[in-house]
């Protein structure tokens, strides 16, 4: 089978192209690393011990300070967050008036602690207001005409869904990105370095040539996707997800399922990349078109949700966006059968490869050399 000779040549060339390999692998790891970084930053912000110390810089309010201490704040005279209590605080509180408390802080650096501080002071103020109402014979319920109680009916938390969604978009974009250099080099690159015409003079069918190149690009795409998924989920295992109360499936089974779900799309993407590469006038053109192509799943990932995603799940990209949630979140969604979508994607790949073969068989492929 001469297509395997073409495949072996393309793989050898790709594996020796260190710059392309590095960019493909770095992309595979960069996405999951970005998600882990976001998770850890979120966890650090919500961690109780992460509250910065507070200083009482002027005035005195023993009960307020006791409330803050009970809420987890530590007091330190050298703290950067400064609490200024008005000199008439005690008198105004005792008279039933309004006492003034001012917080001085760098909100850029200490925004989270200041938000929490403000919220605790307001909670303390509400407690005081209730006590005052009670002392005047007014039921505290008068001050709270409506009580709001929000309950989550979802099987997964909103946070888990957002993080999983982010991961899914990165996983989905991977096959589009990792194969760019390999596809451009095997097609437009071949023509640009003028090795395509000699290749067309060998006794092999144009379809074998296209299939060999396609298989090589698909191998790079599938390997890069598998690395991205496995490394991404391994990194998530070591992230601060539990601190956020988020539970994601990050085991080997989830990684294998996600990779398998992406495999038919990876084959289709490789076919489209080969076809675009053969249509492009130069290597740079091919790289530009293929990079633009990689934005399609990213945009779809951010635009499709809810009913729109359900409607799009019968099509490539839409299906993967919806289907990848199941192995990661353990959720169940009504989707078209995987086998049917995989068959449709492989059929689409075959059609694209047929068009690519027609392009390679035409005389215009040499006219651009």
């Amino acid at each position: 089978m001469r297509l395997w000779t073409v495949y072996a040549k393309e793989m050898t060339e790709t594996l020796r192209d260190r710059r392309s390999l590095f960019s493909a692998l770095s992309y595979s790891l960069l996405g999951p690393l970005a998600v882990v970084f976001t998770v850890n930053v979120l966890a650090a912000a919500t961690r109780p011990g992460a509250l910065e110390p507070v200083a009482v810089c002027s005035g005195e309010a023993r009960e307020l300070v006791a409330h803050l201490t009970a809420a987890g704040f530590t007091l330190s005279p050298d703290a950067a967050i400064c609490l200024h209590i008005s000199h008439d605080y005690s008198t105004r509180v005792a008279e039933g008036g309004t006492a003034n408390v001012r917080v001085l802080a760098d909100l850029t650096a200490s925004g989270t602690t200041v938000d929490k501080l403000q919220s605790e002071i307001q909670r303390y103020a509400r407690t005081l207001a209730m006590q005052r109402a009670l002392a005047r014979g007014v039921a505290p319920a008068v001050l709270v005409p409506i009580a709001v109680d929000v309950q989550n009916t979802s099987s997964v938390s909103r946070r888990a869904e957002v993080i999983a969604r982010l991961l899914i978009v990165f996983f989905l974009v991977t096959p589009f990105f990792v194969g760019v250099a390999a596809a451009a080099d095997a097609t437009a690159g071949e023509r640009e370095r003028r090795s395509l015409e000699p290749l067309l003079c060998y006794p092999l069918r144009r379809s074998s040539l296209v299939l060999g190149k396609w298989l090589a690009v698909a191998t790079v795409g599938a390997a890069g996707t598998a690395i991205c998924v496995i490394a991404g989920l391994m990194l998530m295992q070591r992230s601060a997800l539990p601190e956020l109360g988020v539970r994601l499936e990050t085991g080997l089974e989830a990684a294998v399922t996600v990779t398998a779900l992406l495999l038919p799309l990876t084959m289709l993407v490789a076919a489209v990349q080969v076809a675009i590469g053969l249509l492009a006038a130069s290597y740079k053109d091919a790289q530009s078109y293929l990079t633009l192509l990689a934005f399609v799943p990213a945009i779809a990932g951010f635009v499709l949700s809810g009913e729109r995603l359900a409607a799009a799940s019968a099509f490539p990209i839409g299906f993967e966006l919806a289907a990848l949630a199941a192995p990661l979140l353990g959720s169940v969604t009504a989707l078209p059968p995987f086998a049917a979508v995989a068959a449709a994607e492989l059929a689409a790949a075959a059609l694209v490869l047929w068009l690519a073969t027609a392009r390679l068989s035409g005389e215009r492929i040499l006219a651009q050399v």
Binding site: R2, T5, K9, R193, S195, E197, C201, P203, L366
Partner: protein, 246 residues
Amino acid sequence: MIVVSELRKCFGTAVAVDRIGFTAEDGSITTLLGGNGSGKTTTLRMIVGALEPDRGSVAIDGIDVRRERVQALGCLGVLHDDFGLYPRLQVHEQVRFGGALHGLNGAGLDDAVERALGALGIGHLRARLAAGLSHGERMKAALARAIVHSPRNLLLDEPTRGLDVFSVRVLRELLKRLRDAGTCILMSNHALAEVLELSDRVVVIDRGTVLAVDSPAGLVATAEAKDLESAFVGLVQDAAQRRIAS
């Protein structure tokens, strides 16, 4: 043997090749001689099936290229003017790739690769990447790839372009050896010294038509010129005058 019959090829309204016909015999070197844009490359591209002729046919060892392209190309070795080497493949891998695409495998492929490298005297370059080779070394690697399957027909597109005298001598010796062994060699060439030295038959082409087919000595004698260059220039100028007159 390569038989070219009545080839015609147009690009839009421009006629690139019109009724070109000649035969490149086994055991001889046939040269397509013509100026830039004379139709040499278009003719060679039709011979290898990269371009489809509007009319006419090409047969390699009796196999019609249009009808059985893959089988016909199996009898052919091709050296392009740009060589078409892969910068990230080693020299022996380039040659092996060519042999494998011609259906060689296993020990037969190993032997063929060593034989081709030896014939060009580039065994010492076997592990070098093509990206680091000189122009002459690249030509030798590409020629080793073209002959690795011991083709009965060899097609070369301006093989001496840009080569130094040492590389030209290696090429010249190899082509003579192959011719003596019965190989049909068809090449296009600008270098009149090489045409004179190597060619058994010269096909003079101008504006897509054949002006003359003869041996170098026959061309000089017929044109009553002092050398091949004068004979070639005279043939082209006579054709131009005939076009103006008509």
